[in-house]
Amino acid sequence: MAMLSESKHTLGTFEHALENLRNNVMMMASQTERSLNRALKGLMDRDDKLAALAIADDEEIDQLEKQIDKDGIELLLRFQPVASDLRRVVSAMKLSSNLERIADQATNIARKALKLNKHPALPEILLLTPMQDHAIAMFRDSVDAYVREDAQAARAIIPQDDALDKMNAQVSRQLIDRMARDPEQLRGYINLMFVARHLERVGDHATNIAEDAVYAVAAEDIRHQQVAARA
């Protein structure tokens, strides 16, 4: 059975470097969440200022990703961590990559919001509300499972991605139906479809984060299990 040791390392610099890496991941996660919230609020409330802020957030998040990679590589180089320490470093670096891509999805949503906000509001935007709530919940829960080192909670997130995929398919069908009936609004509906797609991608990255959390805690690689089972 895998374990994550709670006691401190004898080598203080190593302890400090691991702590610093973890803090940066947590900071990046909180900035990503803020950016995603701003983008979605900018879309739903037709607030260009919030959408612009979400786009601006991306630069800082990109820098944090680079910092986490740099710190992770230095940790591997200087301290050659093993066992749970190694898993912590590897998962932190993988997590940062997924957070950065979620932030990219936030930027994409914000850009679509700026385009949609130039035209009269589409009532169909409300079709996205359940997807938005589901994607944000998946993201929050996956980061929370990682921070609390809770493998059970992380595992519980994986099946939720299927629900999000189904929501995306349903929203797409509904929007295609609207396009047929009201071609005037084609551009707007296409942008809403893109937003649905971006939310679906947020769910994919949240799933990756949950998988990395399971690896960090339980030393178990649970990725691509459905594919393996089918093979």
Partner: protein, 279 residues
């Protein structure tokens, strides 16, 4: 008897491969079997109920904090502890290929030929390079020059030293560098065609390049020999061993494939030790 077929080992030693060799299955024939061993120095017990199966033709690393008993156990394997007054196995037995090494009929000199040893600090004899390697053969009564020549060259090639010393075999072994001296000691151990080689922190006095050469040698030798290495260097254990045994306060805490021990140990004490939380 092990035949050294090491012609493919060339010098300079190839770079250390980062990729580990496929690890042999754990449940395979056992070279050394340690059964319920207690060990005492006088009245002071230092090993408690140790059970261990050392697989053949693989590198097994003993790790653990100072005083945990790993060197004591290593020295049991060729009865080096017989030389210490009051030191004895007080319970249990050690079997090599099924035979109790403490059985009355066992010839200790023959046991030590079969189980060679390399120490922390290189200890060449004050003789020529050639004579250092030939020494064990002469002790065994081998006098035929051609036979000794052949064994010296084979051993020096196997220890990746031949190309560095072939033109000065008659020079003093003391003229070699520390790393070369340690490889000479390995060659000396190989010359008598042992089955097991015990290494007690063989690289602790060497620089990183000499360490890499000895580690590469250990990696190559595992094809023909059973190697047991005591090391305080966790990265070294990770790099060159197939199996790792972790000892703490005289007890074997965990034994398993090195990749498992260093990625996902089963015991909390192992985890805390290898990640530098105590010891």
């Amino acid at each position: 008897m092990v035949v050294m077929e090491n012609e493919k080992i060339t010098h300079p030693a190839p770079p250390l491969e980062l990729q580990k060799p496929p690890e042999p299955e754990l449940r395979q024939p056992v070279m050394i079997n340690v059964n319920d061993v207690d060990f005492c120095y006088g009245t002071h017990q230092v090993l408690f109920d140790v059970n261990l199966e050392i697989p053949p033709r693989a590198v097994t690393a003993f790790i653990g904090p100072s005083g945990c008993g790993k060197t004591t156990l290593l020295r049991c394997f060729n009865r080096m502890n017989d030389l210490i007054d009051g030191a004895r196995i007080s319970a249990g037995s050690i079997r090599m290929e099924g035979r109790d090494i403490h059985a009355p009929e066992v010839d200790v000199v023959d046991l030590r030929r079969r189980v060679g040893m390399v120490f922390q600090k290189s200890n060449p004899f004050p003789k020529s390079i050639y004579e250092n390697v030939a020494y064990g053969l002469r002790v065994l009564g081998v006098n035929k020059k051609s036979q000794i020549n052949e064994a010296v060259e084979k051993s020096l090639r196997a220890s990746a030293l031949w190309d560095e010393v072939k033109d000065r075999l008659d020079s003093s072994a003391y003229g070699l560098s520390g790393g070369q001296q340690q490889r000479l000691c390995i060659a000396r151990a190989l010359a008598v065609e042992p089955e097991v080689i015990l290494m007690d922190e063989p690289c602790s006095a060497l620089d990183p390049i000499a360490t890499a050469k000895v580690e590469e040698l250990i990696y190559q030798l595992r094809e023909n020999f059973t190697i047991v290495i005591v090391t305080h260097n966790m990265q070294q254990a990770g790099r060159c061993s197939n199996y790792t045994a972790f000892f703490y306060l005289g007890r074997l805490i965990e034994f398993g494939a090195t990749s498992k021990i260093f990625s996902n140990p089963s015991e909390r004490q192992t985890e805390d030790y290898i990640t530098g939380r105590f010891g």
